[in-house]
Amino acid sequence: MKTSYFVMLLFLSVAVVSLTAWDKPEKDDLPTTGDPTKSRAALGAMLKVLKHQRCMNCHPTDDRPRQGDDAHAHLFNVQRGTDNKGLAAMRCVACHQTENNKQSNVPGAPHWQLAPKSMGWMGLSDEQIAANLIDKSKNGNRSLDQLMEHMTRDPLVQWAWQPGEGRTVPPVSQKDFHEAVRTWIENGAVIK
Protein backbone atom coordinates (compact mmCIF):
# COMPACT_ATOMS: atom_id res chain seq x y z
CA MET A 1 0.00 0.00 0.00
CA LYS A 2 2.76 2.31 1.04
CA THR A 3 4.62 1.42 -2.19
CA SER A 4 1.67 2.15 -4.46
CA TYR A 5 1.15 5.47 -2.64
CA PHE A 6 4.79 6.32 -3.31
CA VAL A 7 4.53 5.35 -6.99
CA MET A 8 1.39 7.44 -7.34
CA LEU A 9 3.16 10.41 -5.72
CA LEU A 10 6.09 9.98 -8.03
CA PHE A 11 3.82 9.83 -11.05
CA LEU A 12 1.99 12.95 -9.97
CA SER A 13 5.15 14.92 -9.36
CA VAL A 14 6.51 13.96 -12.80
CA ALA A 15 3.21 15.02 -14.29
CA VAL A 16 3.36 18.34 -12.44
CA VAL A 17 6.93 18.95 -13.55
CA SER A 18 6.13 18.29 -17.20
CA LEU A 19 2.97 20.34 -16.92
CA THR A 20 4.98 23.23 -15.49
CA ALA A 21 7.44 22.95 -18.36
CA TRP A 22 4.56 22.91 -20.82
CA ASP A 23 2.77 25.81 -19.15
CA LYS A 24 5.77 28.06 -19.20
CA PRO A 25 7.37 27.90 -22.61
CA GLU A 26 10.89 29.25 -22.64
CA LYS A 27 11.31 32.61 -24.29
CA ASP A 28 13.21 30.87 -27.05
CA ASP A 29 10.56 28.32 -27.88
CA LEU A 30 9.25 28.56 -31.39
CA PRO A 31 6.77 31.38 -31.86
CA THR A 32 3.32 30.03 -32.45
CA THR A 33 2.03 33.23 -33.98
CA GLY A 34 2.97 34.42 -37.43
CA ASP A 35 2.45 33.13 -40.89
CA PRO A 36 3.93 29.70 -41.71
CA THR A 37 3.68 30.47 -45.43
CA LYS A 38 5.92 33.48 -44.95
CA SER A 39 8.29 31.41 -42.83
CA ARG A 40 8.43 28.71 -45.52
CA ALA A 41 9.22 31.22 -48.27
CA ALA A 42 11.93 32.79 -46.13
CA LEU A 43 13.43 29.36 -45.46
CA GLY A 44 13.61 28.82 -49.21
CA ALA A 45 15.68 32.00 -49.60
CA MET A 46 17.87 31.04 -46.65
CA LEU A 47 18.57 27.61 -48.05
CA LYS A 48 19.84 29.12 -51.30
CA VAL A 49 22.54 30.72 -49.17
CA LEU A 50 23.25 27.85 -46.80
CA LYS A 51 23.59 25.41 -49.70
CA HIS A 52 25.90 27.69 -51.68
CA GLN A 53 29.51 26.48 -51.66
CA ARG A 54 30.78 29.57 -49.80
CA CYS A 55 28.82 28.27 -46.81
CA MET A 56 28.62 24.55 -47.47
CA ASN A 57 32.38 24.11 -47.99
CA CYS A 58 32.95 24.72 -44.29
CA HIS A 59 29.89 22.78 -43.10
CA PRO A 60 30.91 19.24 -44.08
CA THR A 61 29.53 16.19 -42.32
CA ASP A 62 32.98 14.59 -42.47
CA ASP A 63 36.39 15.91 -41.44
CA ARG A 64 37.51 17.55 -44.67
CA PRO A 65 36.86 21.15 -45.60
CA ARG A 66 36.04 21.72 -49.25
CA GLN A 67 37.18 24.36 -51.73
CA GLY A 68 35.80 25.99 -54.83
CA ASP A 69 32.39 25.86 -56.45
CA ASP A 70 33.06 22.23 -57.34
CA ALA A 71 33.51 21.49 -53.60
CA HIS A 72 36.74 19.58 -54.05
CA ALA A 73 38.48 18.39 -50.89
CA HIS A 74 40.72 21.14 -49.49
CA LEU A 75 44.19 20.80 -51.02
CA PHE A 76 47.14 19.73 -48.87
CA ASN A 77 45.22 17.07 -46.99
CA VAL A 78 43.70 19.71 -44.69
CA GLN A 79 41.58 18.21 -41.92
CA ARG A 80 39.24 19.22 -39.11
CA GLY A 81 41.32 18.34 -36.02
CA THR A 82 39.92 18.11 -32.52
CA ASP A 83 38.92 21.77 -32.20
CA ASN A 84 37.65 22.30 -35.79
CA LYS A 85 40.69 24.52 -36.40
CA GLY A 86 43.00 22.02 -38.04
CA LEU A 87 45.55 19.43 -36.99
CA ALA A 88 48.44 19.95 -34.55
CA ALA A 89 50.92 21.34 -37.07
CA MET A 90 48.48 22.12 -39.87
CA ARG A 91 46.26 24.67 -38.20
CA CYS A 92 43.83 26.73 -40.27
CA VAL A 93 45.76 29.76 -39.06
CA ALA A 94 48.87 28.53 -40.90
CA CYS A 95 47.33 30.13 -44.00
CA HIS A 96 44.05 31.84 -42.96
CA GLN A 97 44.04 34.99 -40.87
CA THR A 98 41.21 37.27 -39.80
CA GLU A 99 40.75 38.85 -43.24
CA ASN A 100 41.31 37.96 -46.88
CA ASN A 101 44.99 38.15 -47.73
CA LYS A 102 45.63 40.84 -50.33
CA GLN A 103 48.87 39.28 -51.62
CA SER A 104 48.13 35.57 -51.78
CA ASN A 105 44.32 35.84 -52.11
CA VAL A 106 43.96 33.23 -49.36
CA PRO A 107 40.55 33.87 -47.76
CA GLY A 108 40.27 34.89 -44.13
CA ALA A 109 37.78 36.07 -41.50
CA PRO A 110 37.65 36.16 -37.71
CA HIS A 111 37.72 32.70 -36.05
CA TRP A 112 38.29 30.92 -39.37
CA GLN A 113 37.40 27.27 -38.75
CA LEU A 114 35.14 24.44 -39.78
CA ALA A 115 31.62 24.42 -38.40
CA PRO A 116 31.42 21.69 -35.73
CA LYS A 117 30.41 18.32 -37.14
CA SER A 118 26.93 18.55 -35.58
CA MET A 119 26.41 21.58 -37.83
CA GLY A 120 27.41 19.68 -40.96
CA TRP A 121 24.92 20.06 -43.83
CA MET A 122 26.50 18.22 -46.74
CA GLY A 123 24.20 15.53 -48.09
CA LEU A 124 21.28 16.56 -45.88
CA SER A 125 17.82 17.33 -47.22
CA ASP A 126 16.43 20.86 -46.90
CA GLU A 127 14.18 19.71 -44.10
CA GLN A 128 17.05 18.09 -42.22
CA ILE A 129 19.16 21.25 -42.52
CA ALA A 130 16.29 23.38 -41.22
CA ALA A 131 15.58 20.96 -38.37
CA ASN A 132 19.25 20.95 -37.37
CA LEU A 133 19.35 24.74 -37.37
CA ILE A 134 16.83 24.93 -34.54
CA ASP A 135 17.93 21.80 -32.69
CA LYS A 136 19.92 23.03 -29.71
CA SER A 137 21.73 19.70 -29.43
CA LYS A 138 23.13 20.33 -32.90
CA ASN A 139 23.32 24.10 -33.32
CA GLY A 140 25.82 24.83 -30.56
CA ASN A 141 23.05 25.23 -27.95
CA ARG A 142 21.85 28.41 -29.64
CA SER A 143 18.47 29.90 -28.88
CA LEU A 144 16.56 31.34 -31.83
CA ASP A 145 17.83 34.80 -30.89
CA GLN A 146 21.38 33.53 -30.86
CA LEU A 147 20.83 31.71 -34.15
CA MET A 148 19.61 34.96 -35.69
CA GLU A 149 22.65 36.74 -34.25
CA HIS A 150 24.98 34.07 -35.68
CA MET A 151 23.47 34.18 -39.14
CA THR A 152 23.19 37.94 -39.40
CA ARG A 153 26.20 39.19 -37.42
CA ASP A 154 28.95 36.58 -37.15
CA PRO A 155 31.78 37.93 -39.32
CA LEU A 156 32.73 34.45 -40.50
CA VAL A 157 29.19 33.92 -41.82
CA GLN A 158 29.13 37.41 -43.36
CA TRP A 159 32.42 36.62 -45.13
CA ALA A 160 30.35 34.67 -47.67
CA TRP A 161 29.49 38.01 -49.32
CA GLN A 162 33.07 39.31 -49.27
CA PRO A 163 34.96 36.13 -50.13
CA GLY A 164 37.78 37.75 -52.10
CA GLU A 165 38.59 37.93 -55.77
CA GLY A 166 37.54 35.04 -57.97
CA ARG A 167 35.08 33.48 -55.52
CA THR A 168 31.36 33.44 -56.23
CA VAL A 169 28.91 34.79 -53.66
CA PRO A 170 25.54 33.31 -52.60
CA PRO A 171 22.66 33.99 -55.00
CA VAL A 172 20.73 35.97 -52.35
CA SER A 173 22.09 39.34 -51.20
CA GLN A 174 23.39 39.74 -47.67
CA LYS A 175 20.56 42.14 -46.83
CA ASP A 176 17.87 39.84 -48.21
CA PHE A 177 19.40 36.89 -46.34
CA HIS A 178 19.23 38.79 -43.05
CA GLU A 179 15.63 39.69 -43.79
CA ALA A 180 14.83 36.07 -44.64
CA VAL A 181 16.33 34.81 -41.36
CA ARG A 182 14.27 37.32 -39.41
CA THR A 183 11.06 36.48 -41.29
CA TRP A 184 11.67 32.74 -40.94
CA ILE A 185 12.14 32.95 -37.18
CA GLU A 186 9.42 35.50 -36.47
CA ASN A 187 6.90 33.38 -38.33
CA GLY A 188 7.61 30.13 -36.56
CA ALA A 189 10.87 28.81 -38.04
CA VAL A 190 9.08 26.09 -40.00
CA ILE A 191 11.28 23.27 -41.23
CA LYS A 192 9.31 22.32 -44.35
Binding site: A88, A89, M90, R91, C95, Q97, T98, N101, Q103, S104
Partner: protein, 156 residues
Protein backbone atom coordinates in the same frame (compact mmCIF):
# COMPACT_ATOMS: atom_id res chain seq x y z
CA UNK B 1 52.87 50.91 -39.72
CA UNK B 2 55.27 50.54 -36.85
CA UNK B 3 55.56 46.82 -36.29
CA UNK B 4 57.04 45.67 -33.00
CA UNK B 5 57.55 41.98 -32.56
CA UNK B 6 60.02 39.44 -31.33
CA UNK B 7 61.99 37.48 -33.85
CA UNK B 8 64.38 34.75 -32.76
CA UNK B 9 64.25 36.06 -29.17
CA UNK B 10 65.13 39.63 -30.13
CA UNK B 11 62.69 42.47 -30.12
CA UNK B 12 62.49 44.52 -33.33
CA UNK B 13 60.54 47.56 -34.42
CA UNK B 14 60.31 48.15 -38.15
CA UNK B 15 58.39 50.58 -40.33
CA UNK B 16 56.56 48.54 -42.99
CA UNK B 17 53.26 48.60 -44.93
CA UNK B 18 50.74 46.76 -42.77
CA UNK B 19 49.80 44.32 -45.53
CA UNK B 20 53.38 43.47 -46.47
CA UNK B 21 53.81 39.69 -46.22
CA UNK B 22 55.72 38.74 -43.08
CA UNK B 23 58.07 36.88 -45.41
CA UNK B 24 59.22 40.19 -46.94
CA UNK B 25 59.74 41.66 -43.49
CA UNK B 26 61.90 38.69 -42.54
CA UNK B 27 63.91 38.49 -45.77
CA UNK B 28 64.09 42.04 -47.11
CA UNK B 29 63.81 44.22 -44.02
CA UNK B 30 65.55 42.08 -41.40
CA UNK B 31 67.80 40.40 -43.98
CA UNK B 32 67.24 36.89 -42.64
CA UNK B 33 67.51 34.86 -45.82
CA UNK B 34 66.95 31.33 -44.49
CA UNK B 35 63.18 31.46 -45.01
CA UNK B 36 62.38 30.94 -48.70
CA UNK B 37 59.82 32.19 -51.19
CA UNK B 38 58.30 29.44 -53.32
CA UNK B 39 54.75 30.02 -54.52
CA UNK B 40 53.57 33.11 -52.62
CA UNK B 41 50.13 31.49 -52.32
CA UNK B 42 50.36 29.45 -49.13
CA UNK B 43 50.69 26.29 -51.15
CA UNK B 44 54.29 25.04 -50.93
CA UNK B 45 55.39 25.77 -47.35
CA UNK B 46 58.87 27.02 -48.31
CA UNK B 47 58.17 30.16 -46.27
CA UNK B 48 57.15 28.33 -43.05
CA UNK B 49 58.09 30.04 -39.79
CA UNK B 50 56.58 29.76 -36.33
CA UNK B 51 54.37 32.48 -34.91
CA UNK B 52 53.69 31.95 -31.21
CA UNK B 53 54.60 28.29 -31.72
CA UNK B 54 52.31 27.60 -34.69
CA UNK B 55 53.72 26.81 -38.13
CA UNK B 56 52.68 29.71 -40.38
CA UNK B 57 53.13 30.22 -44.12
CA UNK B 58 54.67 33.66 -43.95
CA UNK B 59 54.02 34.57 -47.60
CA UNK B 60 50.35 34.65 -46.71
CA UNK B 61 50.60 36.41 -43.37
CA UNK B 62 50.22 40.18 -43.33
CA UNK B 63 52.86 41.95 -41.23
CA UNK B 64 50.25 43.60 -39.00
CA UNK B 65 49.21 40.24 -37.58
CA UNK B 66 52.71 39.72 -36.15
CA UNK B 67 52.35 42.77 -33.89
CA UNK B 68 53.45 41.78 -30.37
CA UNK B 69 54.02 38.16 -31.37
CA UNK B 70 56.99 35.83 -31.16
CA UNK B 71 58.34 34.71 -34.52
CA UNK B 72 60.89 31.94 -34.94
CA UNK B 73 62.77 31.33 -38.18
CA UNK B 74 65.26 28.67 -39.23
CA UNK B 75 68.13 30.94 -38.12
CA UNK B 76 67.21 30.45 -34.45
CA UNK B 77 67.42 26.67 -34.41
CA UNK B 78 71.14 26.02 -34.04
CA UNK B 79 73.60 27.67 -31.70
CA UNK B 80 77.40 27.85 -32.05
CA UNK B 81 77.89 24.39 -30.58
CA UNK B 82 74.88 22.41 -31.54
CA UNK B 83 72.36 21.86 -34.28
CA UNK B 84 68.68 21.48 -33.44
CA UNK B 85 67.76 17.74 -33.37
CA UNK B 86 65.67 18.21 -36.52
CA UNK B 87 68.62 19.78 -38.34
CA UNK B 88 70.95 17.05 -37.07
CA UNK B 89 68.53 14.37 -38.27
CA UNK B 90 68.33 16.08 -41.67
CA UNK B 91 72.11 15.94 -41.89
CA UNK B 92 72.27 12.33 -40.68
CA UNK B 93 69.80 11.22 -43.32
CA UNK B 94 71.30 13.49 -46.01
CA UNK B 95 67.90 14.81 -46.89
CA UNK B 96 68.39 17.86 -49.13
CA UNK B 97 68.86 17.76 -52.84
CA UNK B 98 68.75 21.35 -54.10
CA UNK B 99 67.86 22.40 -50.56
CA UNK B 100 65.45 25.19 -51.43
CA UNK B 101 62.39 23.75 -49.69
CA UNK B 102 64.22 22.40 -46.69
CA UNK B 103 64.04 25.30 -44.18
CA UNK B 104 60.27 25.22 -44.55
CA UNK B 105 60.12 21.47 -43.98
CA UNK B 106 62.44 21.72 -40.98
CA UNK B 107 60.29 24.45 -39.40
CA UNK B 108 57.11 22.46 -40.05
CA UNK B 109 58.72 19.37 -38.52
CA UNK B 110 59.94 21.33 -35.49
CA UNK B 111 56.40 22.54 -34.97
CA UNK B 112 54.98 19.02 -35.37
CA UNK B 113 57.40 17.47 -32.86
CA UNK B 114 56.67 20.18 -30.31
CA UNK B 115 53.02 19.22 -30.47
CA UNK B 116 53.30 15.50 -31.16
CA UNK B 117 56.72 14.32 -29.92
CA UNK B 118 56.45 10.85 -31.48
CA UNK B 119 54.18 11.11 -34.51
CA UNK B 120 52.78 8.09 -36.34
CA UNK B 121 53.11 7.74 -40.12
CA UNK B 122 49.57 9.09 -40.47
CA UNK B 123 50.32 12.06 -38.26
CA UNK B 124 53.38 12.85 -40.37
CA UNK B 125 51.34 12.57 -43.57
CA UNK B 126 48.57 14.75 -42.19
CA UNK B 127 50.73 17.49 -40.70
CA UNK B 128 53.68 17.85 -43.04
CA UNK B 129 52.14 19.02 -46.29
CA UNK B 130 54.95 21.13 -47.74
CA UNK B 131 56.11 20.53 -51.29
CA UNK B 132 59.59 19.44 -52.41
CA UNK B 133 60.21 19.70 -56.13
CA UNK B 134 63.22 17.39 -55.85
CA UNK B 135 61.08 14.69 -54.24
CA UNK B 136 63.10 14.14 -51.06
CA UNK B 137 60.01 12.97 -49.19
CA UNK B 138 61.31 9.49 -48.47
CA UNK B 139 64.47 10.78 -46.80
CA UNK B 140 62.50 13.42 -44.94
CA UNK B 141 60.27 10.77 -43.45
CA UNK B 142 63.33 8.89 -42.24
CA UNK B 143 64.76 12.13 -40.86
CA UNK B 144 61.58 12.88 -38.93
CA UNK B 145 61.84 9.49 -37.20
CA UNK B 146 65.55 10.11 -36.60
CA UNK B 147 64.74 13.52 -35.06
CA UNK B 148 62.31 11.80 -32.68
CA UNK B 149 65.12 9.44 -31.60
CA UNK B 150 67.57 12.30 -31.13
CA UNK B 151 65.09 14.30 -29.09
CA UNK B 152 64.31 11.30 -26.89
CA UNK B 153 68.04 10.66 -26.32
CA UNK B 154 68.71 14.27 -25.44
CA UNK B 155 66.03 14.09 -22.77
CA UNK B 156 67.64 11.05 -21.05
Amino acid sequence: MQLTFEINNQSHTVEVPEDMPLLWVIRDVLRLKGTKFGCGQAMCGACTVQVDGDAIRSCSYAAKFAQGKKVTTIEALANEEKLHPVQQAWLDERVPQCGYCQPGFIMATKSLLEKIPNPSEDEINDNITNICRCGTYHRMRKAIHRAVELQQKSKL
